[in-house]
Symmetry: D2
Subunit: 336 residues, 4 copies
Amino acid sequence: MDIGIIGGSGYTGGELMRLLSYHPEAAIKAVTSRSRKGQKVSDTHPHLRKICDMEFEDLQPEEVASRCDIVFTAVPHGTAMQVVPALLDAGVKVVDLSADYRLKTDVFEKTYKMKHIDPRKAIYGIPELHPEIPSQQFIANPGCYPTGASLAAAPLAKAGLIERVVFDSKSGVSGAGVEPSEVSHYPNMAENIQAYKLTTHRHRAEIFQELTRLDGGLKSICFTPHVIPSVRGILTTAHIFVKKELSEEDVSKIYNDFYKDRPFIRLIKGIPMLGNVRGSNFCDIGFEIDKGNDRIVVISAIDNLVKGASGQAIQNMNLMFGLPETTGLWHPGLAP
Amino acid sequence: MDIGIIGGSGYTGGELMRLLSYHPEAAIKAVTSRSRKGQKVSDTHPHLRKICDMEFEDLQPEEVASRCDIVFTAVPHGTAMQVVPALLDAGVKVVDLSADYRLKTDVFEKTYKMKHIDPRKAIYGIPELHPEIPSQQFIANPGCYPTGASLAAAPLAKAGLIERVVFDSKSGVSGAGVEPSEVSHYPNMAENIQAYKLTTHRHRAEIFQELTRLDGGLKSICFTPHVIPSVRGILTTAHIFVKKELSEEDVSKIYNDFYKDRPFIRLIKGIPMLGNVRGSNFCDIGFEIDKGNDRIVVISAIDNLVKGASGQAIQNMNLMFGLPETTGLWHPGLAP
Amino acid sequence: MDIGIIGGSGYTGGELMRLLSYHPEAAIKAVTSRSRKGQKVSDTHPHLRKICDMEFEDLQPEEVASRCDIVFTAVPHGTAMQVVPALLDAGVKVVDLSADYRLKTDVFEKTYKMKHIDPRKAIYGIPELHPEIPSQQFIANPGCYPTGASLAAAPLAKAGLIERVVFDSKSGVSGAGVEPSEVSHYPNMAENIQAYKLTTHRHRAEIFQELTRLDGGLKSICFTPHVIPSVRGILTTAHIFVKKELSEEDVSKIYNDFYKDRPFIRLIKGIPMLGNVRGSNFCDIGFEIDKGNDRIVVISAIDNLVKGASGQAIQNMNLMFGLPETTGLWHPGLAP
Amino acid sequence: MDIGIIGGSGYTGGELMRLLSYHPEAAIKAVTSRSRKGQKVSDTHPHLRKICDMEFEDLQPEEVASRCDIVFTAVPHGTAMQVVPALLDAGVKVVDLSADYRLKTDVFEKTYKMKHIDPRKAIYGIPELHPEIPSQQFIANPGCYPTGASLAAAPLAKAGLIERVVFDSKSGVSGAGVEPSEVSHYPNMAENIQAYKLTTHRHRAEIFQELTRLDGGLKSICFTPHVIPSVRGILTTAHIFVKKELSEEDVSKIYNDFYKDRPFIRLIKGIPMLGNVRGSNFCDIGFEIDKGNDRIVVISAIDNLVKGASGQAIQNMNLMFGLPETTGLWHPGLAP
């Protein structure tokens, strides 16, 4: 497969190149960056020295499409909608890592407070929840928080057992992107934890969309994110209040059945930790039952840049091309 | 005041000495440690070099009492109950930093799975919730999590407005004590966050006791702790589901009224962060209303070793001796 | 003493206010910031909430001088020289925390590549090396690296024993200031260590000045700085090649004699660590002799924002006013 | 190739399994651990869940040899010498990751203060410095510090240009191993840097051996290690004092010629950082000339567990079997 990356200077762009370096069927043919045109990719991503000898180009979508079978758009929301139509018209497959096509148009416009110029439907790209991905030309790759949260709660949602859920999520700082900011300033972040957008984070709309798709009656979905002093990873603590008492065996069975044959989900006894999924596409899930409080605490751990972004995008690509979803992605986490 | 510290080799013992070095009315007369008898205190706590020239002694409670007006017991639970009776019999005041006297005896025995040999009643030492402290001889100093959690929710509990509350707490590693362990091993903790005892942490019993004291009808109190890669601090994210819709003004008024004239509570617009309370006895509290979810997210930030342990112990001491509670404790946090 | 701070929005300005809150003889009468005029100081420095209720003002130096006995200038280099003359003319004492007056004018101009508009002589403010501070009106407060490096090597330099010295210094990120940057971006700094300006850091000129003042024949002084994933602190590893073999007793005696009666120097057996001086004005020094390599490894540990900046500035202030240098500064480090 | 790992429960054992999971020609046939016999490997190394389904066994060396073509011994020093002879006698290839065979026997006994029971000669396994590796049955895999230090200085040593060198090395905490200790205790290590064994670290003997092999006249080799708050990586700051003035071009040429065709050495303009080699087998090297001080500062960055241990072991294995040394190791670093 010949691959193009539109917007290669950020973390998700760099991560696509890192992960694709392991892929036996993939060859990157174009990486764009307007501001870094003509510079070596490895000047921006020095960990890729000797691995990737390409230069950034400043190309029109049509030019990228002409060289490629599939294009990843790793650009900010609002920008993707300006390049995706031309790519799709050119007949290539597209995985969009921005937020532009994840939500229904009206929800998008309300959530992101901008007009959508290309109100097109895309499949939401969590393969474990969307069996229809293999036949698609176009996938909207999910947000990082929604991936961790939806995977933690989906089996119980599907079973119609959730009364109310509170997602208390903890993300690594890389989720805030490559640009230095107040939040990412080391003296602000070290030895700290920053709760933010306590009730209004935009990713809540994606979580809501995915879980209500599984259980139309589910109403009470709360989401509060935090940034922790870690570079990578999202740990989601899902406080799930259930409609009836469930035993540990009940819950195990529900999760095992739901995620049967899904290679990247690792259901574990015990509590997932970020270190075990770092750099990998795995999502580790564990749980404990709060007897007497009708609560199940489900913990999921992902790498926000892999399963939460670029790894999942490649997983989607594999499926779109009829490959095993694990192709080029079957790596252990980097621990310690 | 002449002061004794029983168990001075751990973090809370060291923190008592650090904080008391600022206190204008306090003189430490004895610091005990069985295992370090005869060693300089500053060999164990090198940050106290030149500040504290004492040596650890191995003393009977009676001997400590004979030199002191007040004794802090900073020993493990199960040990405090072996020394407190003799101290109280000797007529000195006591602040016990262990868990031994925080709960009703039957709850203690069930929670800590041990027999209590001294089933005595003590006042639970959160001064902001217990106006009766000034007249006491004996105070059970609260746990770190319960301090942060109870202070975050108490005003709404007192107002009878809480339907259900989920405390998702994030603690620094110093809460696990001075002894190296799997959890505190740097490669396990760095770039990580460890959820643990998802539904069964013993501190839940203290939180339950304090909040139901304020609202007898409150039943659903959930608590899940995490350790974050930070040395000090507890950030408590209190997801409070309320019985009726409240405006921002309503909530502000409830908190302002409740904490009027309480010097160590700082109610802020915005979101508290650990860095601002590090090393200080302040508890910063902020909140946001989740419109449409009958949820209020209250965030509290404390230093687990100060307001969550030794600082609160000194605050209690001040009150027990009729001093302003801020005496020797009115310090800013260490930021950045 | 009535105190003014010109430039109060950065880390050294905030640290002056934090430390002065402990000082029994000091009252802050003015804090300036052009860009934050009218804002509360505690909005910029939230750890000072309830401790400092002042607002930033935008004042001319003369106005600041009219309210104060002493003024700290905590502004960037190049700016201090624009305000210091008016302050001195107004008769107040001044401690300048910038680099403007630390070096001889010609060395300054060469090192900082700018013209000096006020070529005035100031005393270099390391009290342990400059007994003439008590009588001064004007002190140039030293750089952070030069404080740690000079204190580590001064006794051996004074003894004329140094053949060559390599200072390999490791600084916390707060040394890079309050503004977010590539270096301070959490994902760049965490799990990393950044060597920079391997041979050309401007602070080398200060180290050179101080050590050659003690030993005019000393020529080979090398300095290489690094930033480590820590907020505060500078650990200086001084690899000192000596002219003749020295025993441990020899070196101990040289350091003990040199630093006799200097309260903030703690000579220790063993190896200093940042944690023990964090937040304090202490400088811990230890050493080991490399038998057979004519090398002595001296380690010094300071808090870059305290002994390396604002604490030392207050120590200088105390001496300029005839107070004990420890007044308001006799605090233990914050450990753990 | 069929592979055995003796001692699979520590970091280097885990890292061998992680890295071998990428190797197209390698199959692990045995992993031993006496204390964890019968337990799943992935219980100890949870990042390997689904990647490695083996169990630890408690096997005699002969049994391991009977299943394998090559055996890695990842056991403590002193233990390797008890199993290596039997392995070699059985005819399999061996890469020993312990210190037992890295030094000449007399130097080993003096340095490690123990009797050597198998005084056998092995080739020291830095492939970039030892072209004789391809024909060997037995390789002593180097220490982590010596790998970073030797690679930084070897070209200048070979050229006979070094007068004196000071290696000031900074290692991640994983170098201290998997067992919790005072040093690795998070509150001791976070926001800190710990210098240790300032002049007497045992790895100095390896560095000395390698550099004097290249330049018999080189006498003054100093080494001081530090532990930094990072899990992985060693940054070596080599302060190299040279015999004659060298231009940037001179030094570039010396390094480029020396490391021509060595795939894992990346000579860079600028300063190496740990993040760029994390998880990879690369060694990044950069330098700067200190004009007027006859000093060249060379910086090398490696991952201590990969190029400093298990990755280099696999690189050696590849060469011992006639494979390209990059086989299964040609991975980018994990950044950010």
